[in-house]
Amino acid sequence: MRYARALVMALLAIGGAAGAGCKDKEPEKAAPQTAETKTSAAPASDTIVIGHVGSMTGNEATFGQSSDNGMKLAVEEQNKKNGIKGKKIVLKTYDDQGKPEEAAVAATRLVTQDKVLTFLGEVSSSRSIAMGPVADSNKIPMISNSSTNPKVTKDGDKTRPFVFRVCFIDPFQGTVMAKFAAENKKWKKVAILRDVGNDYSVGLANFFTETFKKLGGDIVDDVSYKAGDQDFKAQLTKLKSKGAEAFYVPGYYTDVALIARQAKELGIKVPLMGGDGWDSEKLYEISKGALDGSFFSNHYSPEDTSPQVKDFIAKYKATYNSVPDAHAVLGYDAANVAFHAMETAKELTGPAIREEVEKTKDFPGVSGKITLNKDHNADKPAVVIGIEKNAPKYAATISP
């Protein structure tokens, strides 16, 4: 009898402790990962919640931050115009720390807990590829702002019905740089240094190789590194001896800046070339002039004199006190494409909005006219940016 009572007491104690433990832990768990822009989280009927998954911290932190700034600007403007169908828009941003697995978790959370009608993101292709299945299986449209790998909107050979993007894709971006190297610069020998663990970098390197060879160029060597490496001197020393006229380094800005510094330290004087993953003010801050004379392909140039671009730059500067990079522009465009689709949609449900996003045609974005093709990609011209005196300078525009 005494044992029985003791047992009951013990069970109660354990149960109580466990319950208390759970209660204590839950808010703690939820708190650190959210980086909300608006605190009113409840999807009340007079608001529309849209989501953003971005790398607010981590190796590519400026990608997420710029995109988020662009999106916030778009939301603010739309809310001033009385929102969508009279409802205020609330932007909910989650940080994925630059990790694909976190991006998938964040997307799932936006869809299942925050009940978003559309979500935007990511800049990195590896992370967007991880998010795509979430959009499809929950029938909520996803609009990627700057992911350029073809696989983002594809599920094998099929196009993912709910995944879209407002930027061009890598076969085009790789071609642009290959054309620029072969035709504008008349380079014959190029060496490649790619990030093997990154879908974006591998894709760009392959498409560049294909076109450059077709144009009569020669890829003298093709070596690889891994994102987050500290030392690139082994690869660079190897490439130095191959007599290349330029190196193609389609990576992200943190690694590229370190690569450029170490190349300079090894006495390598040839220019580097890259893609839109270079576009961050941190690139200049870290490389400290080591990239002078280099070129990268991008979605827009702040030197563009069209009224739309000028207007956007002025607004952005007034709010954030800096010149927007391409990811800010594409974040703004992605949000506006989503708003336009929501306004024209018959009802505010995922599938209805999806129908409208798919119809996007000649939408006047800051990065150019956006028309989504049957693969859900935008066909737009690319610009080539040169780096002079540690600052970006417009070099050329290349059309599809």
């Binding site: 001197k233 020393t237 190897k238 130095k240 800046a257």
Partner: protein
């Protein structure tokens, strides 16, 4: 030939770093038979300690040799204190338990440091604390000067790193084999309980071993961060594992073994990436370990010690 020599220079500069970190692994193993998996993260903390001190001194505005010295010594002291704290609070309470318990605790401490440093900031500032997962940029502690003998590029950073690293290794060699403390250390390593009976303060020897090893890790971190300026909380992961490989490769528990192991690992990585396949750069570290362990399970310099029953 120039290319070969350039790889040699690069390999030595990476190898000395591995060697410095490997020394910490090997010393702790020698004394406690514990593989201190948190050691790579102590190295990471060393880099951040250096960064905070540099910020405090304003090294990025006005670098000077004196400030570089303060950064260097400061980081070493902070890490030595961290090493002592880890030993006191994480390992000592478990010292009489099964060895596996301490090993798992070491992995736990490693995660605590890696993910603790990625938490949202508590103290705000230009570089907040904890710093979060965004990479931070380490200011150059002194101006870079490049030399170019025979077409091989060497900077004053490479030379300073090599001199400091070799200096530390020689000093350690002296401490372990020529001083009273070193004798005590070797005695504890041979048999802790008997050493205790002979009047050696075992706890004090262990504490100093941790302090020394962690200080060396901090020195390595500052040498790396000075010339490869991007640092983040997961910085210690790969160098930590590779230095562990270097220590096992040289014969874990053996001081010369760790030095030679680190240098061989750095050089082989460099030559594999330079002449064979760059994507196998990290793989080579582990391939080397497997080959050496198949051929000499005790490592290059290790001695087989009969298990006492």
């Amino acid at each position: 030939m120039t290319e070969f020599l350039q790889h040699l220079v690069n390999g030595l500069s990476v190898g000395t770093i591995y060697a410095l970190i490997a020394l910490g692994y090997t010393m702790v193993y020698g004394v406690l038979k514990l593989i201190n998996f948190a050691h790579g993260d102590v190295y990471m903390v060393g880099a951040f300690a250096g960064l905070y001190i540099s910020r405090g001194l304003g090294v990025d505005q006005e670098p000077s040799l004196a400030k570089a010295g303060v950064v260097f010594i400061g980081a070493i002291v902070i890490c030595a204190a961290l090493g002592v704290a880890i030993e006191r609070f994480a390992y000592r309470p478990l010292r009489q338990r099964a060895r596996l318990t301490a090993l798992i605790t070491a992995i736990g401490v490693s995660f605590l440091l890696e993910y603790g440093f990625q938490l949202p900031p508590v103290i705000d500032g230009e570089v907040p604390f904890p710093p979060g997962p965004t990479p931070r940029f380490f200011p150059e502690p002194f101006a870079r000067v490049d030399f170019e003998p025979f077409g091989v590029h060497i900077s004053n950073y490479d030379i300073v790193s090599l001199v400091v690293a070799v200096g530390f290794m020689l000093a350690l060699q002296y401490i372990v084999y020529r001083t009273k403390f070193g004798t005590a250390m070797r005695a504890v390593s041979f048999d802790a309980s008997v050493a205790g009976l002979m009047g050696i303060n075992v706890n004090r020897v262990i504490v100093w071993t941790f302090a020394l090893g962690s200080g060396l890790a901090a020195a390595a971190a500052i040498l790396v961060a000075g010339s490869r300026p991007s640092i983040n909380p997961l910085l210690g992961l790969l160098p930590g594992i590779k230095a562990f490989v270097a220590a096992v490769f040289g014969g874990i528990g053996n001081v010369q073994g760790a030095m030679v192991g680190g240098l061989i690992l750095g050089l082989s990585e460099e030559y594999v990436a330079g002449y064979l396949l760059s994507s196998y750069r990290d793989g080579i570290a582990f391939a080397l370990l497997i080959i050496v362990l198949l051929w000499r399970p005790e490592g290059l310099f290790g001695r087989v010690r009969a298990e006492k029953v």
